[in-house]
């Protein structure tokens, strides 16, 4: 089968790989119909995630048709068109029982701090991902959801990560009616967080980025007030000014370690890799939220550590909430929101690329060319 093949930082190609096989009685083999490239994949693509081995296939956002089932999977049938949450979760362990499907303890030998994720390095379990024609789906009796007849596959593929992550970012922010919500990042995740903040009753939604075309998109899709950090002298001071000197009620980091916008952080985090990515969004979030406020983090950072003003967190009495999205926990609610039209995920898809052109798609998305918000890869036989 054809599959994306990581060769090193900034280098990917399409390769012929052996078909995946059932390796566990609760596995399924899925023929991929759509897969997306995510901001999270860019951390891998840039060589920021330790234990990203050459030859790995990325891709944790995909949907497809069930081709084969392990003997213990009874809730699916061959031929079902399913959307597959990015978390690999057993559904039974200490953490899954509490709804923490993003933190499963039975899916990742290489690390305890993160559960298994499709195509996300060996640090997240060593699974090949869905940017391929076929993929092995472990615990297929827990994660996958059969797409309802009315659902567009373009909506479905965004329900595997983008929608739940944006939603959980807003949920973790503990938004109360009337709150001012400040969101860093106008990528798919930040845009979706802006949309969802309103569902939780936000009074104001402000999005910060430096890419004009993305800010424009967020302005109308959120909707949101948008500002470019390039044009603000000082993001934090600006935020104080626009909130009567108090700061935002909550701030959301939807950027992660590939952030731009601070020389020192770029030097230490991005260039020298002495910290686990550029942590400027965390700085800005911590410093522009009001005392007693909440910082919600879904932006992804590496496992080593980052330079953040933890002293200010203490002095301001902040609450920090963060996680990998627990996709399966949120799906019932979010499928309702898609059906009712409160969330329209597929509007985020700007580029549809043949799987064979995966290298171009990565570069396009990473370099933010051609107004790209979200690219979807389509295998030729899909």
């Amino acid at each position: 089968m054809r599959a994306m093949d990581y060769r090193g930082p900034y280098r990917v190609r399409i390769t012929e790989k052996p078909m995946p096989r059932i390796e566990h009685p609760r596995d399924a083999i899925v023929r991929v119909t759509r897969s997306c490239i995510c901001g999270s994949d860019l951390h891998l693509y840039h060589g920021m995630v330790p234990d990203t081995r050459v030859g790995t296939t990325f891709g944790h956002e995909f949907c497809g048709v069930v081709e084969e089932l392990g003997e213990e999977v009874s809730n699916l049938e061959v031929g079902d068109h399913v959307l597959v949450p990015f978390n690999i979760a057993c559904g039974q362990c200490h953490f899954c029982q509490q709804g923490l499907f993003g933190n499963c303890h039975e899916s990742n030998p290489q690390a305890t701090a993160v559960g298994g994720i499709f195509g996300y390095s060996h640090t997240a379990g060593g699974y090949d991902g869905g940017q391929a024609e076929y993929v092995r789906v472990p615990y297929a009796d827990v994660g996958p959801v059969v797409m309802p007849d009315w659902m567009d596959p373009d909506d479905a593929v965004l329900l595997t990560d983008v929608v739940p992550t944006g939603y959980q970012a807003a949920e973790m922010a503990g938004i109360q009616r009337g709150d001012t919500v400040l969101i860093f990042g106008a990528g798919p995740i930040g845009i979706m967080a802006a949309r969802c903040a309103w569902l939780f009753g936000a009074g104001r939604v402000i999005v910060i980025d430096h890419l004009e075309y993305r800010l424009e998109f967020a302005r109308s899709y959120g909707p949101a007030e948008v500002y470019s950090f390039k044009e603000l002298n000082d993001v934090v001071t600006f935020m104080k000014k626009t909130t009567d000197g108090l700061g935002a009620d909550v701030a959301i980091d939807a950027v992660g370690g590939d952030a731009k916008g601070n020389m020192l952080q770029t030097l230490f985090g991005t260039k020298l890799k002495l910290e686990a990515g550029n942590a400027i969004p965390l700085h800005w979030a911590i410093n522009s939220v009001k005392k007693g406020g909440i910082v919600s983090v879904v932006g992804v950072y590496g496992p080593t550590g980052n330079i953040v003003p933890i002293g200010n967190v203490v002095n301001k009495g902040l609450t920090i909430r963060a996680n990998q999205a627990s996709v399966k926990r949120l799906l019932p609610r979010l499928i309702e929101h898609v059906r009712s039209g409160h969330i329209e995920p597929r509007k985020l898809i700007t580029h549809r690329v043949a799987l064979d052109d995966v290298a171009d798609a990565y570069h396009l998305f990473a370099a933010k060319l051609d107004g790209c918000i979200k690219p979807v890869l389509v295998p030729s036989q899909a």
Binding site: R11, R53, I88, C90, H94, G125, H363
Partner: protein
């Protein structure tokens, strides 16, 4: 030698024997609501009903923070070669040790070189521009494309000059020796 063994003086304390235990407990004070279902938190234990265990296949490296192998794991790209040795070494340290991650990052960089060597060994010269998505750059960022092409050309030209110089240098030296 350090040890993790609980000594008799560190026996578990029975909470109800502690004066005032729980008098200010407040189930409402739960910052993890709603994404953690407290009702199903059985307290610290690891004896849930486990899924069937995936049978052993290729070599899996395991965090020393795990008390046992998780039931399911990925089997892509087992550790190999020099980078594989580095990766194995990394797993002598826990996830909270910087060395663990540093060795893995080192292995990743080495692995890139191994990947190119492997390609060449199989008679494939990796098409670096294509792998880096040069077509997207050409289509959507002509300026960036021009700068990159010029840089690549200059670097290549410089290398050729350098090699030629070295070549004629050594030839000259050899000439003198003869």
């Amino acid at each position: 030698m350090r040890s993790d063994i609980v000594t008799p003086s560190n026996e578990r304390i029975d909470p109800s024997s502690v004066p005032g235990w729980g008098i200010d407990a407040d189930p409402q004070n739960d910052p993890t609501y709603p994404y953690r279902i407290r009702d199903t938190d059985p307290g610290s234990r690891a004896d849930w009903e486990r899924p069937p265990l995936q049978s052993e296949g290729p070599e899996i490296l395991q965090s020393i923070e795990h008390i046992r192998r998780p039931a399911v794991f990925g089997t892509a790209n087992p550790p190999r070669g020099l980078s594989g040795m580095l990766r194995r070494a990394a797993f002598r340290w826990s996830e909270s040790n910087w060395l663990h991650w540093l060795l893995l990052m080192g292995a990743d960089r080495l692995n890139v070189v191994e990947g190119i060597a492997e390609d060449i060994g199989r008679g494939i010269v990796p098409n670096l521009p294509a792998e880096m998505g040069v077509r997207a750059e050409w289509r959507h960022n002509k300026k960036g494309f021009a700068i990159k092409a010029a840089t690549a050309f200059a670097v290549a030209g410089g290398l050729v000059l350098l090699l030629r110089r070295k070549g004629s240098d050594t030839a000259a030296r050899r000439g003198r020796g003869l």
